[in-house]
């Protein structure tokens, strides 16, 4: 064989190969992440479970076991029942509204028009901006005296000044406001998800449908929707999980009021466990989120598995 001197392959010593072993290196690489998550998510989760069945408060950090007493206490409490109910309404309402807005927003953004880039950038804002800051802006918009919404309604003659809606002070309106703000935060994310899904549908499938005679709506509902369901399902999981467990919107806009009309699980857990220091009941309240989350996540995962194309 043609050569130019010594072959460069050194038969290296065998113990140098530790960095080549896929299994060793693989475990070593994943270890820090797993460790972090186990220590600061897994262990605290178990701690929360234990708090909920103990009599722990910050004034009396007792680890004594009280069984399901805390859960019985909170289920008997009408405020808690109201909170649980609110949380479902809040989540359901904002997700549905957000999805609808997202679906149609995606359809609008699909088509090229002048200024589309700019419009898209603006539409992303509610999701991009930190939740607390956007909520504060809405808080100001709903202000009992200076609400710009009310000003507009009055100026258009729809309501009189004395009848101006008290968005954050009236129980039904407060829940509506909180749902609207959350839907508003969610819908750009829904648009992004829908767009990603729709653009992933291969053009030749759509073309085949057109040649087969499917019109716009049929193509939409019988071809596109089934094909984007997996990715929409993922988006929905995120949406439901973050809405169901949210505390920011309620904390900033209504502090759970008026009279608990907008109190949600995350908020009440905070009030009870952190503000009032009753850790054991706070943990019990927060733990009510877990079954719902588990059901949602497992249902979605199985749904996606079955629908893998």
């Amino acid at each position: 064989m043609v050569t130019i001197g010594e072959s460069v392959i050194r038969p290296a010593s065998r113990l140098r190969f530790i960095l080549d072993r896929r299994d060793v290196l693989g475990s070593f690489f994943v270890a820090p992440a797993i460790l972090y998550v186990l220590l600061l998510v897994g262990v605290p989760f178990l701690m929360a479970l234990y708090y909920s069945v103990s009599a722990y408060t910050i004034y009396d950090p007792s680890w004594s076991f009280v069984g399901l007493e805390n859960f019985e206490d909170i289920i008997d409490d009408p405020v808690f029942r109201q909170t649980l109910y609110n949380t479902f309404i809040f989540t359901f309402g904002s997700q549905i509204l957000g999805l609808i807005l997202g679906k149609f927003g995606a359809l609008v953004l699909l088509r090229r028009f002048p200024g589309r880039g700019f419009v898209r950038a603006m539409i992303i804002l509610p999701w991009a901006v930190p939740i607390a800051l956007a909520t504060v802006a809405w808080q100001w918009m709903f202000d009992s005296l200076y609400s710009v919404i009310n000003w507009t309604l009055i100026a258009l003659g729809i309501v009189a000044r004395s009848d101006a809606p008290n968005w954050l002070g009236d129980p039904t309106l407060a829940m509506l406001s909180v749902i609207v703000v959350n839907a508003w935060r969610f819908f750009p994310f829904a648009i992004v998800i829908f767009l990603a899904g729709i653009t992933a549908v291969p053009q030749d499938v759509l073309d085949a449908a057109t040649v087969d005679g499917a019109g716009f709506w049929r193509r939409n509902y019988q071809i596109i929707v089934p094909m984007i369901l997996p990715i929409v399902a993922i988006g929905l999981v995120f949406g439901i999980v973050f809405t169901f467990t949210d505390l920011s919107v309620v904390f900033l806009m209504t502090m759970g009021g008026p009279v608990g009309a907008t109190s949600v699980l995350g908020f009440q857990g905070f009030q009870t466990g952190i503000v009032s220091g009753d850790v054991s009941h706070g943990a019990a309240i927060s733990l009510f989120m877990v079954p719902v989350l588990l059901v949602v996540v497992i249902a979605m995962l199985r749904f996606i598995r079955r629908r893998e194309i």
Partner: protein, 341 residues
């Protein structure tokens, strides 16, 4: 001494054997082609020789040394991937120098070897470019230079031509073959394309479903196939195989000619009904059925158009065709070659 030797290599992925016992002997300097359909295990086998996969059992010897537990860099092999695997963020010079850098070769030495390798492949003028600025042919040469620069004991190629379009493939094929002949490095080349295999290989190992069906020179593979699989895999159109007397009889389309064209030699005659013909310019392919055998089986004949006029071969007509007995191949009921009748 064999440059590359494998003994009974088995590789299972979750109980499914991808490679089911391959023992292969590649002498120094040989161009060995591993030929087989997709999924037959040839690429897995190549990767095991390289060290990118670990075999379930069996031994790999390179340069006489068992390399089972060594990573690729200690085995003395170089590999060329399907899309060449050039480092996009390095210049051509650094691409070629990389294998030397990892072995901590001295700077001056690296410079010398890079010069030598790039001269050998005629890419000296491309050293400062980046891969994305190169044409397909240039990239192939850079990949070869990079493989060569370490002077490996064996060069492994994994279907390097399959991403090229047909026109480029022929010239790329020639270039690789010439390169190998000039440099003399032991080469193992994987492909599913039998034209490539026949054109390039010193020897061919035909692989199907994880085992080697036959190892031999191109003419041995073509003229003396060990079983039905090899007989029908190599050759276009494939060999005609008909069932007869508890076994099979095979004859290649180019040997299935009008009786009048066969003079002198002993031959076997068939009545052939023409169904369809295709005129390909350099030859005419005729499809039909032969009397006395399965009427649904399509038999092909490859006729030189110069000798057979079109009006003579018309659909529906019966003609007397024949095959020289020396061109008949017999297979037993399991498909293996048996001695001639």
């Amino acid at each position: 001494m064999a440059a590359v030797l494998t003994r009974d290599i088995v590789k299972k992925f979750a109980d499914v054997p991808a490679v089911n016992g391959i023992s292969l002997n590649v002498p120094d300097g040989e161009f060995m082609v591993l030929l087989g359909p997709s999924g037959c295990g040839k690429t897995t086998f190549l990767r095991i020789i390289c060290g990118l996969e670990k075999q379930t059992s069996g031994e790999v010897l390179i340069g006489g040394e068992i390399v089972n537990d060594m990573p690729p860099r200690a085995r003395g092999v170089a590999m060329m991937f399907q899309s060449y695997g050039l480092y996009p963020h390095f210049t051509v010079r650094n691409n070629i120098a990389f294998p030397l850098r990892t072995q901590k070769v001295a700077r001056a030495e690296i410079g010398r070897k890079v010069e030598w390798a790039s001269q050998l492949l005629g890419i000296g003028h491309l050293l400062e470019r980046r891969p994305r600025q190169l044409s397909g042919g240039e990239r192939q040469r850079v990949a070869l230079a990079r493989a060569l620069v370490r002077e490996p004991t064996a060069l492994l190629l994994d279907e390097p031509l399959s991403n090229l379009d047909a026109k480029l493939r022929a010239s790329a094929r020639l270039e690789i073959k010439q390169f190998q002949q000039r440099v003399g490095v032991t080469t193992i080349y994987v492909t599913h394309d039998q034209v490539e295999a026949m054109g390039m290989g010193d020897r061919i190992a035909v692989i199907d479903r994880g085992i080697v069906r036959q190892v031999g020179t191109p003419s041995e593979i073509y003229d003396d196939p060990a079983d039905r699989f090899v007989a029908t895999f190599v050759g276009t159109p494939p060999m005609n195989i008909v069932a007869r007397s508890g076994g099979y009889l095979g004859f290649r389309p180019e040997n299935f000619l009008p009786r009048d064209m066969i003079n002198g030699e002993a031959s076997t005659e068939f009545q052939f009904r023409v169904d369809r013909s295709e005129y390909l310019g350099s030859e005419r392919i005729v499809y039909g059925a032969i009397e006395g055998f399965d009427p649904d089986q399509v038999i092909t004949a490859k006729l030189p158009p110069a000798h057979v006029a079109e009006e003579w071969i018309r659909p529906g007509e019966w003609h007397a065709f024949a095959v020289r007995n020396s061109a008949l191949r017999n297979f037993d009921k399991d498909g293996k070659r048996s001695s001639r009748l």
